[in-house]
Amino acid sequence: MQLPVINNEVSEANSGGCSAGSCGSTDDQMNHLPEHIRQKVFNHPCYSEEAHHYFARMHVAVAPACNIQCNYCNRKYDCANESRPGVVSELHHPVQAVKKVLAVAATIPQMTVLGIAGPGDPLANPERTFETFRMLSEQAPDIKLCVSTNGLSLPEQVEELSKYNIDHVTITINCVDPDVGAQIYPWIFWKNKRIKGREAAEILIAQQQKGLEMLVAKGILVKVNSVMIPGVNDKHLEEVSKIVKAKGAFLHNVMPLISEAEHGTFYGLTGQRGPTNEELQALQDACEGDMNMMRHCRQCRADAVGLLGEDRGAEFTMDKVEEMEINYPEAMKMRAEVHAAINEELESKRLAKESKVQLVSIQGVQKKEVTRPVLMAVATKGGGVINEHFGHASEFLIYEASSEGVRFIGHRKTTPYCEGGDTCGDGESALDKTLRVLAGCEAVLCSKVGYEPWGPLEAAGIQPNGEHAMEAIEDAILKVYEEMRVGGRLEVKAVVQQKVA
């Protein structure tokens, strides 16, 4: 169903977008997925860093009830680890939710995916969740549906789930060992009783694993989310990764625990810390030998609407949506044209990349100790090129260069240096924060770096580099790596790590 490109401005007009807790990944992983799965997910903004810049997704909050308690969640707010904490979504009845989805899809044609993730557990609200899915499958067959769940009531819902246009289900699996689970889940609601402790974890784990197996048997894609909780399940998640892979999950997304005291969660109030960037990366690396790992999850707000870097939720509050006249069959034609144009551009980019793939791809290859690997940070607005000013970057993409090529590691958020002011009260300055989040990197590539941050970056062992503006990210990193090799900076030795408290 390739349509001709009729709108050449599409790629410039939109700058991509994601918004959701079940989000993540990179085109690097995408290209290593089997072709039938890649075809299913290539236009999902959360599965590809590239698609992220072209397609958008949204969530509707139709599922407020939950059937378990997690120690990282405060039920007085939305779930802290599935959506940004402290922001209570506008709760919708299914009819309202559908109206809102159609309004957004008609206004933002790049919106391809609708997720239900909460604020409770979608499958603990089966009537509301499935009514929404049923109406959307009928009225907007061009929108992909996805759902995330804690898995407790998944087995009895698999049959119903398979009736709709749902191409993947996300299960949050934090453990396969009930002794670990007892430290994460204080209780579950099960067969009209509140079950606590190890017994609760045992039931939950059994249900999650059974649900995973049943979905795979039905041919529904399953992604597994895990929250990394240092000292609780950090070591254990390697085993989780192996098991869910063996059972047929296609992707594993390890997310860092969010546990600020002000969120009022058990972990927040009892001082349980989240992992550092380095710890998260080490775990993702350790799991990667067994499993396709997601590296791009931004743990977005579950009710955000719009493209990357913008939240247009305010345009679609229920009172505004009620006033909109939407002719969806007409909108669907326009959407098809926009999607075709984007797909064509993505496909041509992918083919161009494939021709270079031997140069840059190292996925799944054992590391040869020829030259040591180096982490580099990149400031980009998207499109696969270095096109962001150091001081304007609110996040950096982290890549690892080694003698085997370049691979994407993840993203790290910061406060843009130019917006941070000199200091933020008694807190750290924006530059200090950026230096901290870039810990472990030896170079930062951006379209431009100002004079002021130059010295502190160098002093921290991070070489500022503005020489590769508008170049493709992987190419530029390889050039910088080659310069380091020629300059004798890549002998096999311990990497100079700036240790940060």
Partner: protein
């Protein structure tokens, strides 16, 4: 004999479909229990269902005005931390 939902309720809907007597109804600013209908699940379930799924400590009271889920009983958060 009836239970009561108080202002701590976050309107999460979890209890409403579980009530065997259809005593729970949506209201502003929060869900309420119709005291004439509530049986505290006697004869239907061992435990009153609303208080068994409710995630909010203190949101549901018994006839004597005591919380069925007192502070700390669901989250395990020590009470001195809750107060802070």
């Amino acid at each position: 004999m009836a239970l009561e939902i108080i202002e701590l309720c976050t309107n999460c809907w979890a209890c409403q479909p579980l009530c065997p007597s259809q005593a729970i109804f949506e209201a502003k600013p929060h869900f309420l229990i119709d005291a004439n209908k509530c049986t505290e699940c006697a004869g239907d379930f061992e435990d009153p269902q609303c208080a068994t799924i409710c995630p909010i400590e203190g949101a549901i009271l018994n006839e004597d005005g005591e919380p069925l889920n007192p502070p700390g009983s669901l989250t395990g958060i020590p009470t001195q931390k809750l107060a802070a």
